[in-house]
């Protein structure tokens, strides 16, 4: 990895960590556009049995055992942003690996 790439990573990551870790604390708690529409139309309750999501230590984008407040939100934002980074890099590595294998085949 070149210095050029390292800088790209660092600047973008700093922005992501700052936004996810700090700015997100000031996010509006109002329902989002879809939730509000569903409420206004009287369609806020699911008509079918919801599928339970996998168990998680996060709730409402907050780390539950840090309690409600800044640090729970910050932990969730930073962890989530880094997890997406890792997932994307892993997918890219798999795709490039597959391509290399194909090319090397006689």
């Amino acid at each position: 990895m070149t210095a050029y790439n390292r800088n790209t990573l660092l600047v973008g990551l700093l922005a992501a960590v700052a936004i996810g870790g700090a700015v997100s604390y000031f996010a509006s708690a109002r329902p989002d556009g879809l939730e509000k529409t569903q409420e206004d139309l009287g369609a806020a309750e699911p008509v079918r049995e919801p599928v339970a999501p996998p168990p998680s230590v996060f709730e409402e984008y907050s780390l539950t055992w840090l309690g409600e407040g800044f640090w729970g939100d910050a932990a969730a934002g930073v962890f989530g942003a880094l997890l997406v980074l890792v997932v994307v890099l892993a997918v890219a590595r798999l795709v490039r690996g597959a391509r290399r294998t194909r090319r090397d085949r006689p």
Binding site: M1, N5, T8, L9, V11, G12, L13, A15, A16, V17, A18, I19, G20, G21, V23, S24, F26, A27, S28, A29, R30, P31, D32, G33, L34, E35, K36, T37, D40, L41, G42, A43, P46, V47, R48, P50, V51, P53, P54, S56, F58, E59, E60, Y61, A76, G77, G80, A81, L82, V84, L85, V87, V88, L89, V91, A92, V95, R96, A98, R99
Partner: protein, 221 residues
């Protein structure tokens, strides 16, 4: 704009899962030809950025809020294929780790916030590549249209799933949804233009590969 769990009928979420699955398969195949050492870090960082930006709900109108989608942004900076892969990664993490968006609705959410706006964003890449003055207004309007198109599709999917009350007409439901998302779309458009202009300015070669006017004999990416 994440559709929660229990709102889509099995035929609807099944169809959307198949559509988004096919789009993702095509994107992964195309990614094999597009990935290079500059693209990969940009993808990872933009994914982290979009995840973080989506957490910041801003108030709109009375009693509601909106947040960035980011699909159009990814489409412009990475192209539709790589953009869709990054957006799908964000949505999978949100659904599986943060209970945002129903697990069975993932295909629908990937289509609405990924495939659709990424395709639209990819369509305006050329304006930025060629430094066209139209890039700014078209990106602003395009990102807003992407939000409205996604919002409309969400209502259609809910209606097809029987998740809207019978007394509400389809036109009325789309009207309510799109009115709110018009305001969200304006913010999406403004943020998209600002971020695209910044990233293209700072990292043009990572976004577009080598400069268009490469010296003769130099391989172009």
């Amino acid at each position: 704009m994440h559709i929660g769990s229990g709102f889509l009928s099995p035929p609807v979420w099944g169809t959307m899962a198949a559509v988004s699955g096919a789009a993702l398969a095509g994107s992964l195949a195309a990614a094999g030809r597009q990935l290079d050492d500059r693209k990969v870090p940009l993808m990872g960082v933009m994914g982290a950025f979009v995840f973080a930006a989506q957490m910041v709900n801003f108030p709109v109108l009375a009693g509601t809020s909106g947040h960035l989608g980011g699909g159009f942004l990814l489409g412009v900076l990475l192209g539709p294929a790589l953009g869709t892969i990054v957006m799908a990664s964000v949505l999978v993490v949100q659904a599986l780790v943060f209970q945002d968006g129903g697990v069975e609705a993932l295909g629908a959410n990937i289509f609405v916030m990924g495939v659709l706006p990424c395709l639209l964003g990819g369509a305006v890449r050329g304006l930025w590549r060629h430094r066209s003055g139209l890039a700014y207004p078209v990106t602003f309007g395009g990102a807003a249209v992407g939000v409205l198109a996604g919002a409309t599709v969400v209502i259609l999917l809910l209606a097809l799933s029987g998740s809207l009350p019978a007394r509400v007409s389809l036109a009325e439901a789309i009207g309510v949804m799109d009115f709110i998302h018009l305001f969200i779309g304006v913010v999406e458009g403004a943020v998209t233009v600002a971020v695209v202009a910044f990233v293209v300015g700072a990292r043009r070669e990572a976004v577009f590969g080598r400069p268009l006017a490469a010296p003769v004999g130099e391989a172009s990416a």
